[in-house]
């Protein structure tokens, strides 16, 4: 098998696996700041137990993120050396900044978070929690900047060097705030907040169903529901704004997302369908005529550029992008629905007793994970055949000196270790959830006295 195909497969596998964890760290990090802050403010032991429990889970998720993330930092060089030579001047700086600004911050203070309960003052511990959450967000900033530059390159010029053509920075701030950075960053962060919030919702709902740690679970569910409802609603806003930016900066991607083939025509919005790109039709499709044009321009008759406006060898795989995008949107809508329904029931004080909804919540943890993965598939597959939009094609970007056999070997190595890592994650997570939050020493002592 050829090295290009296998390198793409390896990248897809390793990044998809890695991306299971950082969104939870980002979302849960933010919730931890809130929980520990509330504990310091109110001295309510419930908040303390919550923080202790979720810090443990956070540590586990973070460790998996680091273990799977090391590969990402090196993979550009190993499998995509031509790409690395071409973008190093621009992309490399964002990646290095992530290391210097975010990774050190996160990993350093995480040690205090996990192992420092008896070694530092409560305020210092809280400060460390803030720093870890801040570091997790900061890491997202730099990596999304780097990726956004691949989508909408800006602030660079192409220079012929002795080693061939490459992109070099001319305007750092234009590179940083390239046309899609802000939209894509806010969309990514909301996805991460949802991942963290629904994670807490899921575990809390499970305890309520099993009638265990009830006070703890009720308090957790309440906080997480409020976060989830807010993040899910904001996600609609950032999603819309991202799509409008895509229409301006990467029209071929938007056209693939909605299977809009006509060169220049008002575009429809599909609720679902199955795209046949050979005859350019959508089978079993249900559509709202003109709705895409309306969403982009506020005018359902205004024409939008379709796929046929681009040469055929610059079309992304339409059905993959279409399906990924539509399922993501559907999941997003579902998350809005269940989180706001939860808020209403919370207000009426019924949510803890609505068993069917609690069961939905137990599985809701999968929602943001699926949507986050599909969102990235839409973004990355939608950019094809380009690795850097309009500048460098994926097929020209891989490492010429690496053979298919070598890549296959590394895929097998990573496949093995990732299965092991995932088994470890599920097993340890299950243990932590089974053990539940610890009872406070104080409460136990009081129990003895009584």
């Amino acid at each position: 098998m050829d090295a290009l195909y296998l390198s793409r497969l390896q990248f897809a596998l390793t990044i998809a696996f890695h991306y299971l964890f950082p969104p939870i760290s980002i979302g849960l990090g933010l919730l931890l700041v809130f929980m520990e802050g509330m504990y310091l403010k109110t001295k309510n032991q419930l908040y303390h137990r919550m923080t202790r429990f979720w810090v443990k889970v956070f540590g586990l998720v973070f460790a998996l993120g680091v273990a799977s993330g090391i590969v990402m930092e090196f993979q550009f060089g190993t499998n995509w050396s031509t790409y690395s030579r071409f973008v190093g001047d621009v992309f490399g700086s964002a990646l290095a900044a992530e290391g210097i600004f975010a990774f050190f911050l996160e990993s350093g203070f995480l040690a205090v978070l996990l192992f420092g309960w008896n070694k530092v003052k409560p305020r210092t511990h809280f400060f460390s929690t803030i720093m870890v959450a801040f570091g997790a967000h900061f890491s997202a900033v730099w990596i999304v900047v780097a990726n956004s530059w691949q989508q909408t390159p800006a602030g660079y010029h192409i220079v012929e060097t002795a080693n061939g053509a490459r992109a070099e920075i001319v305007d750092f701030w234009a590179m940083l705030f390239n046309p899609s950075t802000v939209d894509r960053l806010s969309h990514t962060l909301m996805g991460a907040w949802q991942a963290g919030a629904f994670f807490v919702i899921s575990v809390s709902a499970w305890y309520l169903i099993k009638n265990k740690h009830v006070d703890f679970a009720k308090a957790g569910l309440k906080i997480a529901l409020i976060f989830a409802a807010a993040a899910s609603m904001l996600q609609l806003v950032t999603g819309h704004s991202s799509a409008v930016t895509v229409s301006e900066t990467q029209p071929a991607k938007l056209a693939a997302m909605e299977a809009h083939f006509d060169e220049m025509a008002p575009a429809d919005l599909y609720l679902f369908g199955w795209v046949n790109s050979d005859n350019q039709r959508v089978n079993f499709g249900v559509r709202i005529p003109g709705m895409l044009s309306f969403l982009v321009y506020g005018d359902s008759n205004k024409p939008l550029k379709g796929l046929n406006a681009f040469p055929e060898d610059e079309h992304p795989p339409v059905n993959v992008v279409f399906q990924a995008y539509h399922i993501m949107v559907a999941v997003g809508m579902f998350l809005i629905l269940i989180s706001w329904l939860g808020l209403v029931l919370l207000w009426k004080d019924k949510v803890y007793k609505t068993r069917w909804l609690l069961w939905v919540y137990v599985f809701s943890v999968l929602g943001p994970q699926i949507a986050n993965q599909l969102g990235w598939i839409t973004a990355e597959v939608g950019r094809q055949p380009w690795i850097v939009y309009g500048l460098l094609k994926t097929k020209d970007a891989y490492s010429p000196v690496v053979s298919g056999g070598q890549v296959l070997t590394s895929i097998i190595l990573f496949g093995f270790i990732y299965l092991l890592l995932f088994a470890l994650f599920v097993y340890l997570l299950n243990e932590k959830i089974k053990n539940g939050p610890e009872l406070e020493e104080k409460t136990i002592e009081e129990g003895h006295l009584a």
Binding site: A63, G77, G88, A96, I100, I169, L420, L424
Partner: protein, 342 residues
Amino acid sequence: MSLVFDLNTIWFFLVGILLTGYAILDGFDLGIGALHLFAETDHDRRIMLNSIGPIWDGNEVWLVTGGGALFAAFPEVYATAFSGFYMALMLLLFSLIFRAVAIDFRSKQSSKVWRKTWDISFTISSIVASLLIGTALGNVAWGVPLDASHEYAGSFWTLLNPYSLLVGVLVVVLFMMHGALYGILKTEGDLQKKLGKLFRTNFVLFGIGYIVVTIATLLFADNITEHYKSSPALMVFPVINVLLIVNVWWQHHRGKDLAAFLSSCFTILLLMLIFGLGIYPDMLYSNPVAGNTLDIYNAASSQKTLKIMLTIALIGMPFVIMYTSTIFWIFRGKVKLDSSSY
């Protein structure tokens, strides 16, 4: 030799500092891993593991950031070396991840077979990682075949030449010596005595290895010795290095183990400095066709990017050093097992 303090040179040293930070910090925790099986009881093994518990993943960040900085400042070296050393690098990543799994898995079940399996995994992956790091350094010193378009022209087996493997073994014993000194600081009683013994054995092995590698370098690796031959003033660094190594022994001998450990840290720093001054301004020496060598000029990013990156480093690095030292201060002292331990 003449050092020109332009941006390229500054970045050569900054990448060097990150990799040196990695060698010093992950050096002792890889060393603890390599020595792990020498601790016999379950309790002692947990002490070993927890001596690096809060800090090992922070130590690895130095490697990740070093990789990122290399990508940003010298993309040609990043691309050529990482794609050229493909299988070696994949094995390194694999052993680092596997090692992380072993650390996390080990104490989660009380079965003897379970713990033994992960103990062995922890030790083997630590040794393999150290060996690969050392072998990579050896290859950079020795030179690797590059073609006219700066692509790697050898195979995986080219990397396993005797000189590079020798450096690889030297790094393994260096890390074991360094790890033993760290362990002495973190343990008490019999385990501490055992680590003292292990230190002395590895110190001797390291001493022998050091002499052998020095002779081999003088005899065969001309490209990294020429600066020292043309500017004898540079010989001050190898001299300091030898004094530091002697000092490691002496401080340990008179019971000043913290001083011995710090001296060992500086030994690694000097080794990296001697290595860096030796290869400068080359980064990836091409052997046998020296004309295809990647140096700090033909492999670098644009001056503008180097300048931007320098600003980022000047803002970021003081913080990094500040909280790295804070964390080490918070977790100073002997290991005590509690409910949050591995």
